[in-house]
Assembly symmetry: C2
Homo-oligomer: 349 residues x 2
């Protein structure tokens, strides 16, 4: 059952399940595009793993289907979209397109999305805008998972931050797509399974004490912000912008599956800057390449090591997925096939 | 010689030295305001310590005096200022004011500053804008000091990032003013002096290897980014925006004193978002306080510890400085008094 699957087959499978969960053809294709984009890039945390979660929320009504998502404000470079508790990817795509349109007119934009849900991988929004000549950024609030600096308990989300800039010479954009926790929970789960000690900067135990025991973090403990007070401070700002400024809610949202009885109340920010206002795009790209090539030419810290720029590991994985198919773990394949059967879909992975 | 000095006396002293170094009365007052603001807040790394460095650059001509600093582009929410190698604080104040003006018109702004110098503490720009109802942000390139993730040698600047949001109930704005290195070089110097081992995340030795020996970092080694690949990725984006997009230069600028024969080529970005476009300012402030009070009400990680929000330690120190005077270390006092004598100024600290 394990092995590699062609991206087109993953796409057809995902669309079929999304349609069975009540999404329109367009919405199913858009959600699928975000999921398969992430999976092909090796960002498995935002790939097919999420499909059962999104579908569970759609079927329970915790996430709404086929809502119009109107812009409730548009003025100069700013706008606000009410996602009406629909899928984050649908709201996000609409808001990211608006951010690009407004930056085309005003040079810079800042678009708030209220009452949304998990929006997937930020690179899915930022990279296409960068390809069209924009500096693109996005932020999202997220479920409570991380202790603020100095606290023993979680409250902040891991709050993803997505950035992209165009590169010249036909290269894929420079893309940073990061959460503000020191590491993803998945890495701590893996350490717990393999019995490997973890650095004390990864999390606290249930008593709020630093620990090298991964299972102590998972059993009632909390993740810690990257860079201590720095990541904590950034996450506080991201939460206040995404949850409060958008009008979505407050700190400490719920997870995708932790409460199917109420909306997630997630908020996002999307923005773009039109590079050609400042200098010709070709000049910008050429000067960036000069600077970036100085980075990659540095002596590596590990003998024989390679210095990779933000987004390069994902681009390599995407090329590899395109050439050889996308690896899908056996357990995930089984989960997805069982869900397909439950939904009455004929497709299997 | 050690002890506390009234902020007004620090101000008069600094203005006198700046005037003797050839600055106009207005420019001397503005540079002094940034320096004394930082010193009063306990941000000594951007306080009086910098005055001899700024003055050395002014006297050598490495930083220009009395240049007009024109806006070379203004279009929608974007603008570009050419600092003409003048002081970063003068360029920064002008650009931050423009960012606020444009955000008032277009809701959001993004102002680039080219050909500038060290701009001091970012909170000095962001906090006043937040008091007037804006989300304010600023970024700067900086001298090469930090190894990109995976590299053994420094190239990235520590690249400061300043953010501020207004708070209700007469409270000072929430303010994050951070560099992207794990810690400031000053902390590593202190560890070297006191013989204390440092965490391996602070820096690399001259061979690019992680070390707990502070002096090994200082002697030909390099600082490391906060949060590993995350801080490194953010610094790469900040450098490309501040150095390249502004038209200032490239990665890896020079330090304040490392080369008095040429311009620093520092660039900055200033931006604002007008909060009241999204919701009434009072509503935003009230909802922020609700969220922030949930953070400070969490159980502390240290028994009896307190959870401080971004900017709170600095605000407390500023209140303490206002009440009891600003502590100035004896060695710094001597350096400054010697400089005053050299410049023919009558004032002494």
């Amino acid at each position: 059952m394990s092995g590699r699957t062609d991206a087109a087959a993953l796409r057809a499978f995902s669309v079929s399940l999304c349609r069975a969960a009540g999404l329109s053809a367009d919405d199913a294709a858009l959600l699928t595009d975000s999921i398969v984009f992430a999976e092909c890039r090796g960002v498995t945390s935002h790939g097919l793993l999420r499909l059962p979660q999104y579908i569970a929320r759609l079927r329970s009504g915790a996430t709404a289907r086929n809502v119009p998502m109107p812009f409730t404000m548009e003025c100069g470079g700013t706008a606000r979209l009410d996602a009406q508790n629909g899928l984050g990817q649908l709201a996000g795509r609409k808001a990211a397109d608006k951010a690009e349109e407004l930056a085309g007119k005003y040079g810079v934009s800042f678009v708030a999305v209220a009452n949304s849900n998990h929006f997937g991988t930020g690179a899915w929004y930022a990279i296409p805008a960068a390809r069209r000549g924009f500096f693109a950024f996005n932020l999202s609030s997220a479920a409570s998972a991380m202790a603020p600096h100095g606290a023993a308990q979680p409250l902040l989300g891991t709050d993803p931050l997505g950035l992209a800039l165009p590169r010249g010479e036909g290269k894929a954009p420079l893309a940073l797509d990061m959460a503000l926790s020191t590491v993803a929970r998945g890495k701590i789960r893996y350490a717990a399974l393999s019995g490997t000690p973890i650095p004390e900067t990864w999390g606290l135990d249930a008593h709020g004490a630093p620990t090298t025991d991964a299972s102590a973090v998972l059993n009632g403990g909390t993740l810690l912000p990257a860079g201590g007070a720095k990541g904590s401070g950034l996450a506080i700002f991201i939460e206040l912008l995404c949850a409060v400024l958008t009008g979505s809610g407050a700190l400490g949202g719920t997870g995708l599956l932790s409460d199917l009885s109420r909306p997630a109340g997630t908020g996002h920010i999307f923005g773009c800057v039109d590079i050609k206002r400042f200098l010709p795009l070709e000049t910008f790209e050429r000067l960036c390449e000069e600077s970036l090539s100085r980075i990659t030419a540095l002596a590596p810290a590990q003998p024989g090591g390679e210095i990779l720029l933000p987004g390069e590991p994902e681009e390599r994985r995407a090329a590899e997925s395109a050439a050889n198919g996308v690896p899908v773990a056996a357990a995930l394949r089984e989960t997805l096939n069982a869900l397909a059967e439950e939904l009455g879909c004929a497709e299997r992975l």
